[in-house]
């Protein structure tokens, strides 16, 4: 049997596609990344698009806190918990201000409803840019303090004593002048009748009992250890079908024709049909779906596909940076008179970075049910508002009619934060075709996940620096080439961290340009985003400048930070040097490498101890110093530094997606090598005390390890690194 492409079957009409571009482009792009966008766009999105959206359970204590008769304080988490430990910090903020018993605090995921649960930094409901703690700090402190005030007011009324004579500890309300005390449970009915104060008094940080202590522990360690935590992959529902999709092997490729005859004969296969992104097979279970897909015979149309190989793209990017193509650069930072500033002797370097997959442990997946205009999604949503918009456009519905039950993610690293909601749209398309509200679980194999694109884009940097007094930068030319992650604007993401760098601040002349080629390979946010390459370029360059100036890398940086007035970098540098024993001796064959970088408002310094073993850098110890403002959950900050180092080291050592005539060559963990137990360094984390509002830690630990290792190799061998990965 041969089935031709059918316009009727395609559930994305051209009209819808255009609408998607307009809506998707303006809303989500704008709102997604901290510091890049117009918050007012997000505000429009959260208001108008949330009409009809699922409401939270009614609670006297507002949309973030529920307290029940059993004494459980449930903190409603609007963010995605993908491993970063945000949930623990968010719960701790509430528990601190509420003076709840930490052992009786638990969490649940909020509904998708941007009007109530938008990220205050972005304007849409989203977890990105290491912003969850930062964006919830004021909101949850106020929520917790207001709830506490309600209990205090209730007790004062019930006991006939002044509010000022009442104290709260661990979920128990006390009267100072007597031995009178009642628990939250005993006061619950009265407290619920109190009008929440608009401006509750917040604690002085010196009175914190929970925040900043190691009492703040993950709430999900038990369920994530004993196998009971429920991920998207684990959803099982009555009548549920499992779907797999055959995708074009090249980005931008389309379906020409397919023969589903053999697939349909596989026992368990229920249906085979075309969707916008390929050919879907729906079956009774995962194995049948897999066998059905394997039996498809498909002809792809590569007319508009990307068919170049990685080495050709790398050469193209170099040409672009050198002004040899028609891709023009846009200035991202210009200081002083560029004319003649770069005459004479220059330090010149270039860097190449490959495409990178996210390779989260849980390959992408989604569960959808479409019944007319009603859409129910169960999955690890990271950009709930965008997922609602894109699902609604796919199902010809309204965002508010898309209900999302947000489940924990088995990792994301940015892959679940795709502005087009690629795999969500795919799942909704399939569920819509199946119809009748029958649940469909879309399962991607590891190979699907790794070859699906939405990679950290390929990047090329070219820099020319003229040094002045004491070898410090006097003129800095920086050209970067990278695809844009959002479809409009100045592609500032490609150069984030550069413009505000103290290294450029001390230069009298700066010539920064970003070049933005258009390719069919879809790029995406990838843990630490632009910093994943800009930190390498800046920090490895600075070590080379220090070397040319015959100055110690730490001392050279100190001089620049002092001149630029960068007190936060100075503080992490001092701390890391002290803890790592920077100035002390190290065994023959080993060297220390240093890097310092600010990422999403958090400043991190790392020192790595490195030796070369058969051409592969061996990293045995990494010392981190972190300034993330108030340290809400120190144990989770340490965990994110440990994880960030491993994630960054994986990519630095081995990470690379290679295109061969447009086809990704690394398809699983055999080809896409990642860090394993025997390669994982010990990581020590030291936190700079701070009273600044907290900033995030999920990403800032990632981008420094590559330059720290490169700088150690430079020290060991005298050889500079010109690209990643180290092992090729």
């Amino acid at each position: 049997m041969s089935e031709r492409k059918s316009e009727e079957r395609s559930s994305r009409s051209p009209v819808l596609t255009r609408r998607r571009l307009v809506l998707g482009g303006s809303l989500l792009g704008g709102a997604l990344v901290v510091g890049y966008t117009a918050r007012n766009i997000g505000a429009v999105a959260s208001g108008a698009l949330s009409i009809g959206a699922q409401s939270p359970d009614p609670s006297a204590f507002g949309p973030f806190i529920k307290i029940d008769e059993a004494g459980w304080v449930t903190v409603v988490n609007k963010h995605q918990e993908m491993g970063q430990g945000t949930h623990a910090g968010l719960a701790a903020i509430v528990a601190e201000e509420l003076d709840a018993d930490w052992e009786k605090v638990r969490l649940e995921s909020s509904p998708a409803n941007a009007a109530i649960y938008k990220n205050t930094v972005m304007g849409i409901q989203a977890t990105a840019g290491s912003s969850a703690i930062a964006g919830s700090w004021d909101q949850l402190r106020h929520a917790g303090a207001a709830a506490r005030a309600m209990f205090v007011q209730a007790a004062a009324g019930k006991w006939g004593v002044p509010v000022a004579s009442i104290n709260v500890r661990s979920g128990v309300v006390y009267h100072a002048g007597s031995d009178r005390q009642e628990t939250f449970v005993e006061l619950l009915a009265d407290a619920a009748k109190v009008t929440p104060p608009a401006n509750p008094t917040l604690k002085d940080p010196k009175d914190y009992k929970l925040i900043g202590t190691d009492l703040v522990r993950r709430k999900d360690s038990q369920s994530k250890s004993n196998g009971t935590a429920r991920y998207t992959q684990d959803v099982q529902l009555p009548r549920m079908l499992t779907a797999m999709v055959a995708h074009p092997p090249r980005f931008g490729g389309k379906l020409a024709s397919f023969d589903a005859g053999a697939a349909r004969r596989i026992p368990g296969v229920v249906d085979v049909f075309e969707i916008g992104s390929g050919v879907a097979v729906v079956a009774e279970d995962t194995w049948s779906a897999r066998r059905g897909r394997d039996a498809l015979k498909i002809t792809w149309d590569d007319t508009k596909a990307e068919t170049r190989s990685s080495h050709e793209l790398r050469a193209l990017y170099r040409d672009i940076a050198n002004g040899k193509t028609d891709v023009t650069g846009a200035a991202f930072h210009t200081v002083g008179n560029v004319e003649r500033a770069f005459d004479g002797e220059l330090f010149e370097a270039s860097f190449d970075f490959p495409y990178l997959a996210h390779a989260a442990m849980e390959p992408m997946n989604c569960v959808a049910r479409v019944d007319g205009r009603k859409v129910k999604l169960m999955f690890a949503s990271q950009l709930q508002t965008m997922d609602q918009i894109n699902a609604a456009l796919t199902a010809i519905s309204l965002p508010g009619m898309v209900e999302i039950e947000t489940l924990p993610a088995g990792g994301s690293f940015g892959r679940r934060g795709i502005m087009t909601s690629d795999y969500v749209v795919e799942c909704v398309n399939i569920a819509r075709h199946v119809g009748g509200g029958r649940p469909v679980k879309l399962v991607w194999t590891r190979e699907d996940d790794m070859t699906s694109g939405y990679y950290r884009p390929m990047v090329h940097h070219r820099i020319s620096i003229k040094c002045g007094d004491a070898g410090l930068p006097a003129a800095w030319r920086h050209h970067a080439v990278a695809q844009a992650l959002i479809p409009f604007g100045a592609n500032e993401i490609a150069v984030e961290g550069i413009k505000n760098s103290p290294y450029l601040a001390v230069a009298a002349v700066v010539d920064g340009k970003v070049f933005t080629p258009k390719l069919a390979v879809p790029p995406a946010f990838w843990r630490s985003v632009g910093n994943s390459h800009t930190a390498m370029v800046l920090e490895h360059t600075v070590d080379q400048l220090a070397r040319r100036a015959k100055r110690d890398p730490a001392e050279y940086r100190r001089a620049i930070y002092a001149k630029a007035g960068d007190v936060r970098r100075l503080a992490v540098l001092e701390l890391v040097c002290k803890k790592a024993g920077w100035a002390g001796p190290i065994e023959a064959g080993w060297a220390r490498g240093l890097a310092v970088h600010e990422c999403f408002g958090t400043v991190v310094a790392q020192v790595a101890e490195v030796s070369m073993r058969g051409g592969i850098p061996k990293v045995r110890r990494v010392v981190c110093a972190v300034d993330c403002g108030v340290a809400v959950a120190p144990n989770q900050i340490a965990a994110q530094m440990e994880g960030g180092v491993c994630f960054g080291l994986s990519a630095a050592l081995y990470g690379r997606i290679t295109l061969d005539r447009g086809v990704p060559q690394e398809t699983n963990f055999d080809g896409y090598r990642v860090l394993r137990m025997d390669e994982a360094p010990s990581v020590e984390t030291y936190i700079v005390p701070s009273r600044r509002n907290p900033t995030g830690v999920g990403e800032p630990g990632v981008p420094l390890i590559a330059p720290a290792v490169a700088n150690a190799i430079l020290s060991l061998t005298g050889r500079a690194t010109t690209g990643l990965p180290f092992v090729t």
Binding site: G83, K224, A360, M361, A639, N668, D670
Partner: protein, 147 residues
């Protein structure tokens, strides 16, 4: 046919070529065993077969017949590794951790007091993309009572 899982004989009437992983998950409803790669590269699907750690993605139901299969659900709620995992706040995303624990449990059964080299040797087949490796190491040592 019958599959012996967690001490119980369970009926299985599907395709015997199906990887054990999908039989355990889709047919027996035991979802603690995870799919990560399908080609025995990541260890997320680790179970015990007759006491040995085994990648359930890479053995068919037919070949698993007659083996005593144990999954994370059958490890026992009081297993010392579970307590150690919680004590050290090991999990981040958590998706790999049941496989990590099954691998570690098999290690401790074979080598009750493992060295760092033993841990490297036993655990390097299990990938954790969140980078919890050093906490896993600490938790194994803690459970084993070694420094």
């Amino acid at each position: 046919m019958k599959l012996n899982v967690n001490g119980n004989d369970r009926n299985f009437d599907g395709d015997v070529r199906m990887p054990l992983l999908w039989a355990i998950r889709d047919h027996l409803g035991l979802t603690g065993t995870k799919y990560g790669c399908g080609v025995a590269q990541c260890g997320a699907c680790t179970v015990h077969a007759d006491g040995q750690a085994l990648r359930s993605c890479s053995i068919s139901v037919a070949d698993a017949q007659g083996m005593r299969i144990r999954t994370i659900e059958g490890l026992g709620a009081d297993h010392r590794l579970l307590a150690a995992w919680v004590k050290h706040d090991v999990p981040q995303c958590g998706y790999c951790q049941s496989g990590q624990i099954m691998q570690a449990a098999a290690l401790l059964e074979a080598i009750p007091k493992p060295t760092d080299a033993d841990i490297d040797g036993a655990m390097s087949g299990n990938i954790c993309r969140c980078g919890t490796y050093q906490r896993i190491r600490a938790a194994i040592k803690d459970a084993a009572g070694v420094a």
